[in-house]
Structure formats: structure tokens, C-alpha cells
Amino acid sequence: MNIAKPNSYRSGPDERGHFGIFGGRFVAETLMPLILDLEQAYTAAKADPAFQAEMNGYLKNYVGRPSPLYFAERLTEHLGGAKIYLKREELNHTGSHKVNNVLGQIMLARRMGKKRIIAETGAGQHGVATATLCARFGLQCVVYMGAVDVERQQPNVIRMEMLGAKVMPVQSGTRTLKDAMNEALRDWVTNVHNTFYCIGTVAGPHPYPTLVRDFQSIIGNETKAQMQEIEGRLPDSLVACIGGGSNAMGLFHPFLDDPSVEIFGVEAAGHGLTQLHAASIAGGRPGVLHGNRTYLLMDADGQIQDAHSISAGLDYPGIGPEHSWLHEVGRVNYLSATDDEALAAFQLLSKLEGIIPALEPAHAIAKVMELAPKRPRDHLMVVNLSGRGDKDVPQVGDILRGKSK
């Protein structure tokens, strides 16, 4: 396929929500009026200085932003190449980057007068962030979570319940993130009059991929300013893990038009790309699911296939549509890391830096372990440490004990 290079990589989507052929609004008619309302409300909020000012207040004093850009000295020494910086999103309130987006969407929901919030969650990080802000603003919160994920991410289930949210285990399909999203969409269709659907990633029908990206872009904007302050220049490369791709898009988007910056997204290769995995770009092709056209894992009949990743947050057979476009225009390099590589990176970062990462960004660290040694010592590499690993401690502990036997 021959794809024209755009003048800017940051101008999308078009007015119909398309990034090239990707994106769009593939939803049932029942939801269409609401999606148009949301788009209108978001456009109005963006133009309202009071909205931004209120959000900035919460970002500073409730979320704890800006998150530090930290020089990982021992990891750098160990790998013997690029100078590695960690963008410390795991230090945010609730323990991941998810809160940046949830805060924005909850404030939009309040502007729209919606009192009931629903969300889907995989690892539970988005669910926890949503439950947290619903508690803070006194809103009813229902979180859909695949029954498999409820099992493997118990600490987050307990947190959500403590925050007053109702966690609904989803028993349909593969009982993971994709099914949680189906069930959330079914709830939304049924309760459309009073419910706001707080989507956790840069996917779904337009305008979600755009508004989630915008709320997450604070990651990249801060990184740009912080790197300027520390090193006096732009970074040379960016690395982030990708399930739906919101932490990656948040880091990447402000740098897309800086051609000197190499950008790497890391998908979950599960047991390996020839076996069960969750790498939609490496192993999928364009299709339509959950409101947008994007790269999906599917069979020859267009049936969606089961994804697999050790990390519940990456265990999704699709990816945000803007990533699909950035792949096709060649601006971002999409790589993948296996379960075993992520586990090794999880342990390495814990031992060298005293930072236990979530299994999701452990995939990004795994590729840093390959990329950094091949680059010179003055190369500045930024990794988005999108979440902390507390939630994964029981699961990883079980795996490591099992292995050491």
C-alpha cells in the first residue's frame, strides 16, 4: 500500500474521526446521538479556559503532577549504551497514567450532567482510576472486568470495591478486556439516558481516541519540557508499551513532528508471535471492532481471535486507530516483547533501580534492554513507566516460585 506522508503527523483525525482509513464511528444507532453530544461537549470544554484551569488544579494537587523524569543510572550502566530516563507515571495517584484521562472524562461527564459512570478494565488500573474519581466527585460507578482478569488482578478488584464501585465480572467470550468492553457497550446502550462511558484507552468510536489522546498528552508535553531543562535538548528516542495504546500515545503525540526523535511502541507478544499473543500490528490486519477500524487479531472469516498476554492490561486483540495509522505511515516503529522477556525486565528494573514496574511497562523495559546497548552513550532514551507493579506482585510471585521449583 502506498501512503502519502502528511505535512504534520499531529493534525488528525478529520471531522469524521478518521486517521487515514482508521478510526470512524462504527456504533449502534442508539449510541450515535450520544457520541455526537460528547463531541460537542468536548469541543466546548477545550475552548473553555475554566475547564483547563480546573483540570490543572486537580492534576497538580490530586494526581500529583508533574511526574518526574528520572535518570535511571544503574539501568543505563548495566546496559552500557543509551542514557535511559524513566517518565514516572507510576507515581501518579492510583498508580498509573490512567488517571490523567479519567480526570478529563469525569470532568466532561460532570459538564454533561451525567451521574452514572461505566468503564471497562483489563488490569484494573483504569477501573481503579475511574472508581477513585467517581468517589471524589460523588458519582455512581460500575466497572466491567473480564472474569479471568478479576482472578489475576485481585488487589485492584478489592481497591475498586473499597472506593465504592461495583465490579461486574464478565463471563462472556474470552472473559478478558475485549469482553469487558462489549459488556460496557451493552450497558451503555441500555442506560444511555443517564450514563457516561469512560473509555480507558485511545480506542472506541470518535471522539474517544482523540479526547483520550489529548488528556494523556500531558505525559509527552511534560517530558519535552523536563528533558529541555535537564539536558537542554530533545530526547533521541521514546519507548512505551501498547495494549490499546494510551500511555504510548500520550508520550508520543507531542513529539510526532520532531523528526529527530525515534519512536518505538511495544506490543505484547505473549507466548511468541507464532503462538498466542496480543500484538495486533505484528500479527493482525485492519478490521472493525468496538466502534473503530484498526489493526485486529482475527481469523479468515473476520471473527475476533483470543489475545494472550501475561499482562491483563495488554491482553486485547486490537489497538487504537491512530497507532494503526502511525504504523502505516511509518512514523512509529512497532515492536513486541514476549511474556518471558517482560518478566525478565520486571525483575531487572526492580533489582537495579528499586522500582517494581507493572507488567505492562515491563514490556517497554524489555525492548529498552535490546535497543539501549546498540546506541551511543549520548543518546537520550525515554521510557514511559506507565504503572507500578503492586497489582502484579501476587501473580509474578506465583510464576517465579513455580519456575524456581
Binding site: F26, A28, G173, R186
Partner: protein, 278 residues
């Protein structure tokens, strides 16, 4: 261009009665039994057949139709085999309108142009694609109309006056009014509210209005048929099918009859309706 759908609604109008529209899932519980069920529907009083295209992620369907799709997929049903089923059905029945209902991805992956050509030659008359609102008409709706297939749009309680003209613009065959905001098989529709909604839509279109979602019994089908040009029943038929299966989910000697008997009872309900004078 006149399709079997147009012809059937014109006939029913001259008879002064509403249509009985039935939904079953293609390939449920297996392709051979499914074909027998589809063949039995018109014989039991169905005026229009909606045939579900199985899909792994049916976002607007309740548990019954989700399970029906998974049963069909488990025995290897595909979109290609769905079209073969229609082709087999057409060998014996060249008059009953048949509409494929489902989600866009299997069609997109099959290839839109190839799908439309194959659907037309198989004997499909129309399409209801849940996740293609008017905003995405370029994808399939416009090509389908050009290929001589009806594109039947869903109108819902959230489709307001401002939006109705856009929803109806490229709709043909009939309009499917979704009587409740919700998924298939959910709460029952209130006949009076449905009557008001049908009247509202009729101010914008001369197309027949069929009403579905939440209709399970002959009485309910009749009440809706008094307010609209057709009653659609899906989940109740799918449930009757499921209840006839053995413990492993396979067809039994009772399966085809279970669907046919409920179809006949529902058809009696629809035919007993006193249509409001137009």
C-alpha cells in the same frame, strides 16, 4: 428496483395486515438443522426472515443471541456458509424476503464488493448491519443500494426529530424501529409508546415500520402489530431452539419443530391484529 421485501409489504398492505418478521442465527445449532429451521419459518407463518450472521463480539445483543452466535461459530459457521445456506433455501422458496442481520467486520473482511455480488446471487434481499450508522454510509449502505439490495436501518428511541431524516435518507425496504434503548432480548416494549414512535417516524417516511426488541409472546406480537407494519421476534425463537438441544448443545429430533411451533403461535398473534385504519 423492486425487491422481494417491497413485493411482500405491498401484498400485506393490500390484505390489511402487519408482517411477522422472524430472526434466527445462521448455523445454529448446526448448518443442516439451521437450513431446516429457515425452511420451516415461512411454512409456519413468517412473512420475512432475518438471518443472523454469527460474530464473536455482538455488542448490541443480549445473552441468548450471543450464545446462538457462539454455538454457530463452534460448528464452523462462516459468512460464506451463511450465503450458501441462503442459496439452498432459495431452491425451494423464491418469494419470502430474506434479510441478513449482523455486524460489519465479517463483511469487511469478506470484501464489500464480493460480498454484495455473492449476497445478491444467493438470494439475499436486504441487510441490517447494527454497527453502521448513517455516518458510515460510504462503507456498505451506498454500495448495497447500488447492488440492488435493501439497506434497512435501525431507528431507536434516541433517534430524535433532528436525526431522523439522516437515518431515513438511504433506508429502503422497511425501517426497523428498536422499541427500547437496550440490547436484544431485554425488557418488553410498551405498545402505546411504540404507537407514538411509529406515528412520529411515519411523518418522515412512506416505508413500512417494523418493530422489534422485547417481543416474546403471541399477545405482545399482536399488540405491536396493531401499532406498526410488522412485529419482529428473535430472542424468543432462539430460546425455543436452545431449549430443544441436548446437554452438549446439539440438535435433537424436537429442534426444528420447537422453532416452527412457536413461529406458528406468534404468526397467529400477528394475524389476529386489528390494524388501525390509515
Amino acid at each position: 428496483m423492486t425487491t422481494r421485501i417491497d413485493t411482500r409489504f405491498a401484498e400485506l398492505k393490500s390484505q390489511g395486515r402487519a408482517a411477522f418478521v422472524t430472526y434466527v442465527m445462521a448455523g445454529d445449532p448446526d448448518p443442516a438443522t439451521s437450513l431446516e429451521i429457515v425452511k420451516a419459518l415461512p411454512k409456519s407463518g413468517a412473512d420475512v426472515i432475518e438471518l443472523g450472521i454469527p460474530f464473536t463480539d455482538p455488542m448490541a445483543d443480549g445473552p441468548s443471541i450471543q450464545a446462538a452466535g457462539l454455538r454457530a461459530l463452534k460448528v464452523g459457521m462462516t459468512l460464506k456458509k451463511t450465503l450458501e445456506l441462503v442459496r439452498s433455501f432459495r431452491k425451494d422458496d423464491n418469494v419470502t424476503p430474506l434479510v441478513l442481520m449482523g455486524y460489519y467486520n465479517p463483511i469487511y473482511i469478506y470484501g464489500v464488493d464480493k460480498f454484495l455480488a455473492d449476497a445478491k446471487t444467493s438470494g439475499v434481499d436486504g441487510l441490517i448491519i447494527v454497527d453502521l450508522p448513517p455516518e458510515e454510509d460510504d462503507e456498505l449502505c451506498i454500495p448495497a443500494l447500488k447492488a440492488g439490495l435493501n439497506f434497512i436501518r435501525l431507528a431507536t428511541p434516541t433517534t430524535d426529530e433532528k436525526r431522523l431524516p439522516a437515518v431515513l435518507a438511504n433506508t429502503s425496504g422497511f425501517v426497523y424501529y428498536v422499541s427500547i434503548a437496550g440490547i436484544t432480548g431485554a425488557a418488553a416494549a410498551d405498545a402505546n409508546a411504540v404507537g407514538e414512535a411509529v406515528a412520529r417516524i411515519k411523518r418522515h417516511t412512506g416505508l413500512p415500520i417494523c418493530v422489534g426488541f422485547g417481543i416474546r409472546t403471541p399477545e405482545a406480537a399482536r399488540a405491536i402489530a396493531e401499532k406498526a407494519d410488522g412485529s419482529v421476534v428473535g430472542t424468543a425463537l432462539v430460546d425455543a431452539l436452545k431449549n430443544s438441544l441436548d446437554a452438549e448443545g446439539r440438535a435433537t429430533a424436537k429442534t426444528v419443530n420447537a422453532v416452527a411451533e412457536l413461529t406458528a403461535a406468534l404468526a397467529q398473534g400477528v394475524k389476529g391484529a386489528q390494524q388501525a385504519a390509515e
